[in-house]
């Protein structure tokens, strides 16, 4: 006959199991989403990247052929890389600077802070939308708002910024920088966390506001700067909508706005090379992972955690 001592662990195990099951039950919506909508397609796309899948015919195994072609025999891949890196290198620092600048200004105890915060945040809410991309096209076209203003103020006849291959990418950079709102909010929160007494002590010692900014604000804000930089960089690599709408999916004029994601999209959906496009997607994953890893490695040299 089993004693109480023998059965109680079983009962305990059962209860624990029940708890765990309940936990997984509550997690189920997320778990199902992750496995069915994220992991499943990701695995499938890796398999497809090793095939010649056209979207219409059954996929055939081609091994690493797609990856070899990307590396050795695809001019437009390098064009897309060039455009994307130009965009990332310009838009990320500009957006960070801008967001930080506005956050610092707003943190000075401005009256109606919440109103300004809302106004500055607005572009981030609507900026990624199709409507704004369409608006951008109107503003920067040959007889658009910008040129009309330039003409009225300075009598300068501007080019069609959007349809000129040497300027089109900058309109997209500007559009990205304009959506600085969420980074700004995060900066603001970070600024609030810096203890006031540090500034008081510094000003007693005679440190100028500029010196206070560089010696107190910036170092203590580095974790937030780091966080924002990583997020913005990943977003910049993945940028798609603005170029898609403004160039009507062509990446034109003359591939000057051919973002990597746009090129990937074209290969899949207009050139029927889903296999090749899947390979492109995985190359992008590696690129983003590389830059994210580099940021984390560099972080130990410039990010100061308060511990």
């Amino acid at each position: 006959m089993a004693s109480m001592g023998d059965t109680s662990p079983d009962v305990g195990r059962f209860a624990r199991l029940q708890d765990q099951l309940a936990g997984y039950g509550f997690l189920a919506p997320w778990l199902i989403g992750f496995f069915v909508l994220t992991l499943g397609p990701a695995v499938a796309s890796f398999y497809l990247s090793l095939t010649d899948y056209s979207g219409l015919n059954a996929p055939h195994w081609v091994g690493a052929e797609n990856y070899l072609r990307i590396a050795t025999d695809d001019d437009r891949f390098w064009t897309a890389m060039n455009v994307t890196f130009t965009f990332v290198l310009l838009s990320v620092p500009l957006k960070l600077l801008f967001a930080l600048g506005v956050a610092v200004a707003l943190n000075k105890g401005l009256k109606g802070l919440s109103l300004f915060r809302a106004i500055f945040y607005l572009p981030s809410l609507v900026g990624g939308s199709v409507a704004i991309a369409v608006l951008w096209r109107q503003v920067f076209s040959g007889d658009g708002l910008l040129n009309q203003a330039l003409n009225m103020l300075f009598g300068y006849e501007g080019p069609s910024w959007i349809s000129n291959p040497s300027t089109s990418i900058y309109t997209l950079v500007l559009l990205a920088v304009w959506q600085f709102g969420s980074s700004m909010i995060i900066f603001l929160a970070g600024l609030r966390q810096i203890p006031k007494d540090m500034y008081e002590a510094a000003s007693l010692d005679g440190a100028s506001p500029a010196r206070q900014f560089f010696k107190i604000t910036l170092p203590l804000l580095t974790p937030v700067i780091f966080f924002n930089a990583v997020i913005i960089t990943i977003d910049a690599f993945k940028a798609f909508t603005s170029a898609f709408i403004i160039s009507d999916g062509t990446g034109g004029p003359i591939d000057s706005t051919l973002f990597y994601t746009l090129y990937l999209y074209q290969e899949a959906f207009t050139n029927f090379r889903f296999g090749y496009a899947s390979a492109l997607a995985w190359v992008l994953v590696v690129i983003i992972a590389f830059f994210t890893a580099m940021s984390f490695l560099s972080a130990r040299y410039w990010v100061h955690y308060d511990d």
Binding site: L56, G142, S160, P165, G252, P253, I254
Partner: protein, 428 residues
């Protein structure tokens, strides 16, 4: 209130219902067949097309047709649906992509249905050839159109210049364009758009020189010199101020409403004859239609009748027979013809042509008259496009024209690069 027992009972009943429903006897009773129809175009086209769908439903009890209209994303959606195994039963194609889909096995060959479900006796001569790829009819042409030159009659009257006609050569066209632009004398308004990026205009230009855009084997039918001559012509015209600037031209997405003529930057356009109605819709002054410029009086006109659009049946369709019947109804039924008029181009059925002619508005009449007027001058329909043709057009031919216009490459370099791209992209 729904308690557990009730829930179970209800579920059981539902299950039983489903089981019964799938039994053949019950299926025969509720014999509703649903077909999906997918196309792109204006609201006007949607109204007409859905009108025909309604008529077909009325004539065929138990048939339901769901129309879906695509926009800019038409091709994306179509390929996504095909890749996902839920392609629409019937979908619209156009000549530039038609063979691409046919050769990839996405369209059902119609040969088995011809002269049975699909009557062909009244079709204009040669119509079926316009839907044939590799010896099989894989799409039904819905209309005929041809390349054409549209012009603003007022602009020519004001300038006191004779409008283009069937005898206007490319040299004349250049001279007229330069003079007309000067006479208009407005900033950012030219006589014509820079048409170097329109592959169909290049095709016509080549045909006049006895060349083909694509050979039957699927390679480029022209040389680097031919392409260079084409780019040179438009480059010279642009330099002389006769056609639109690179920046204006780069905004053209090859849709009616982005054409320089529609945006008010030009008063002439090289386009497809059935688009006259759409162009007139966005123009305040009356437009007229003529044929494209010619090389000289003895050379081929470069014109041919081409299918405006096709209907194709998805190779995965569960109701191919019914789909074939719908296509037959669409092109051969007088009531359908009346609903469609010439919105997609001149009907392929000659009886329908005669039937709709009297009821047309003036602009539509112009297009029908134009199609008839070139009857003696049209040449043979060129071979179907090779695989990769749309990629060649969108990723090489058009950007190359822009590169020349923006001065990034010379016409000579452009000709050579175009040939290299053609060799790389085009496959059989």
């Amino acid at each position: 209130m729904l308690n557990r027992r009730k829930f179970l009972t209800n579920s059981a009943m539902l299950g039983a219902g489903a089981a019964v429903g799938s039994m053949p006897a019950f299926q025969a009773m509720a014999q509703e067949k649903t077909m999906r129809l997918y196309w792109w175009g204006t609201p006007n086209r949607a109204e007409r097309t859905l009108g025909v769908a309604k008529l077909f439903e009325a004539a065929n009890a138990g048939v339901k047709i769901n129309g879906e209209v695509g926009g800019n994303d038409y091709w994306t959606k179509l390929t996504t649906m095909m890749a996902g195994g839920n392609a629409p039963d019937i979908y619209q194609l156009e000549p530039g992509r038609f063979a691409d889909f046919a050769r990839r096995g996405a369209a059902l060959p119609l040969n088995d249905y011809l002269n049975k479900s699909i009557r062909t006796s009244k079709l204009a001569p040669g119509v079926l050839d316009l839907g044939t790829v590799d010896g099989k009819v894989t799409g039904m042409p819905l209309s005929l159109n041809a390349f054409a030159l549209f012009y603003d009659t007022e602009a020519f009257k004001k300038a006191g210049l004779p409008p283009p006609s069937a005898t206007t050569t490319w040299d004349d066209f250049a001279k007229i364009s330069v003079e007309l632009t000067k006479s208009i004398g407005k900033k950012n308004v030219w006589a014509t758009g820079n048409c170097s990026r329109y592959l169909y205009a290049f095709q016509s230009w080549l045909t006049q020189r006895g060349k083909l855009l694509y050979t039957p084997e699927g390679a480029a039918g022209f040389t680097a010199d031919d392409a260079t001559a084409w780019y040179t012509y438009w480059n010279d015209l642009a330099k002389a101020g006769g056609c639109s600037s690179a920046e204006v031209q780069a905004m053209d997405k090859l849709l009616v409403d982005s054409n320089p003529m529609a945006t008010g930057n030009a008063v002439m356009a090289i386009a497809f004859s059935n688009q006259l109605t759409a162009f007139q819709g966005v123009s305040k002054t009356p437009l007229a239609i003529s044929s494209m410029p010619i090389l000289n009086a003895s050379a081929p006109s470069g014109l041919f009748y081409r299918p405006g659009l096709h209907w194709a049946i998805a190779s995965t369709s569960k109701n191919p027979e019914l789909a074939a019947k719908f296509i037959d109804y669409f092109i051969n039924e007088p009531e359908a013809g009346k609903a469609l008029q010439v919105e997609r181009g001149v009907p392929v059925n000659t009886d329908i042509q005669a039937l709709v002619q009297p009821s047309l508005d003036d602009v539509s009449k112009l297009t029908v008259e134009y199609i008839k007027s070139i009857e003696g001058r049209v040449g043979k329909y060129p071979p179907p496009v090779p695989l990769g043709a749309s990629e060649f057009e969108e990723r090489s031919f058009r950007p190359m024209a822009d590169k020349v216009a923006f001065g990034q490459v010379s016409p000579k370099e452009a000709g050579e690069q175009l040939m290299a791209d053609a060799k790389r992209i085009l496959k059989i």
